[in-house]
């Protein structure tokens, strides 16, 4: 019959952790001696240790599969290893396609690719910037026309000068 609601036995508080380590044989020699000395005089700690010794081993789960299990295990393992090896073979094939190329050749190819990208990119960049140039030209044209006007004005000045000079000539002749 299982006793219900039985509280766990309490060891002395200062020794609780050491008692677990003592049970598992993990105390240093001096700590073990101290623990054993305390256990001689302490009923509660002795009872607590006895309870651990009874309870903790039953928490482990053991399984002893039959021999057929181990044969299946090995067969299944080989099948899984085959699958992994097959996957790796595919990767190796892909890598092997690239591997005959020496590293300098790959590096040169990469540099050429970058250079080509920059060159083409620059051309595209320039052509994409042609529209603003046209717009600027449209803005400049009227100014140029005005300059023509001013050059005409200069010609008029020259005509005045010629008239003046002509008048003087006619007067003298």
């Amino acid at each position: 019959m299982i006793a219900r609601d039985k509280p766990a036995l309490k060891a002395c508080r200062f020794l609780e952790e050491d008692l677990v380590l003592y049970y598992y044989g993990e105390l240093s020699a001096s700590d073990r001696r101290d623990c054993e000395a305390h256990l001689k005089d302490c009923d509660a700690c002795r009872a607590s240790l006895a309870e651990m010794s009874k309870l903790l081993p039953i928490t482990t789960a053991h399984d002893e599969p039959p021999p057929t299990f181990w044969n299946d295990y090995s067969r299944e393992m080989r099948r899984k290893l085959d699958a992994v090896a097959e996957r790796e073979t595919w990767w190796r094939r892909i890598v092997s396609l690239l591997s005959p190329l020496p590293v300098p050749a790959l590096a040169t190819g990469a540099i050429l690719l970058v250079a080509l990208t920059l060159t083409l990119g620059k051309g595209l960049w320039q052509s994409s910037n042609s529209a603003p140039d046209d717009e600027a030209l449209i803005e400049v044209l009227p100014i140029a026309e005005q300059l023509d006007f001013f050059s005409d004005m200069e010609l008029l000045d020259n005509l005045d000068l010629l008239e003046t000079l002509g008048g003087q000539g006619y007067g003298t002749t």
């Binding site: 299982i2 952790e17 677990v20 309870e51 081993p57 039953i58 789960a61 399984d63 393992m77």
Partner: protein
């Protein structure tokens, strides 16, 4: 010159062969360590099929990452860490399923410890079954780190230092996890003491 049978080679020699592409050498490593690996996985999963899958998954990971094995530790130590991590990942995945579902999957499949194995009377059988379920549920309730420290110590018998290395934490932290796990389990399972 005839090749030396793989069974006569040390683990590290087999690893060297695997690293050169010899898969049969890895199969020999599996044969050597499969039972230990299975038992460790069973400690975490408490289920035969799950333990098989987990230990096989660990072997496959070891196989695919064998190039990273640098020989600073033994093969089994290296593999052990992979295995424990696979088991911890499994615990994290299992956490996402409802506790009842988990208990149903393990119920009846876990063999009790030798202390309560081969129950003779119906009463003893009932107690053994109840204990098995209660232990599974109590372990399930432990926080992941406490559970790991406890399983590695109580089921696998690793030293505190080895557990600290496996869990990549301080020895003092492992001691605290272990103490808390034992305290919690004693409270959960006091009726069986």
């Amino acid at each position: 010159m005839a090749a030396i049978p793989t069974a006569q080679l040390a683990d590290e020699e087999l690893v060297a062969l695997v690293q050169k592409g010899d898969r049969r050498a890895f199969e020999e490593l599996v044969e050597r360590h499969k039972q230990k690996a299975y038992r460790i996985a069973f400690g975490f999963a408490r289920d035969r099929e799950e333990a098989k899958d987990l230990s096989q998954e660990a072997f496959l990971k070891a196989f695919t990452h064998i190039g990273r094995f640098d020989g600073r530790s033994g093969f089994y130590t290296w593999f052990y860490r992979i295995l424990v991590n696979v088991c911890l990942d499994y615990r994290r995945r299992a956490k996402r399923t409802p506790a009842e579902e988990f208990n149903e999957t393990v119920e009846g499949r876990v063999e009790p410890s030798p202390l309560i194995s081969n129950p003779v009377s119906p009463d003893q059988q009932a107690i053994a079954g109840q204990l098995s379920r209660r232990v599974g549920a109590a372990l399930e309730l432990l926080p992941a780190k406490q559970r790991t420290a406890f399983i590695l110590k109580n089921h696998q018998g690793l030293s505190i230092r080895e557990i600290a290395e496996t869990m990549e934490t301080a020895e003092g932290t492992v001691k605290v996890h272990l103490h808390r796990a034992v305290t919690a389990l004693r409270q959960s399972l006091a009726e069986f003491a």
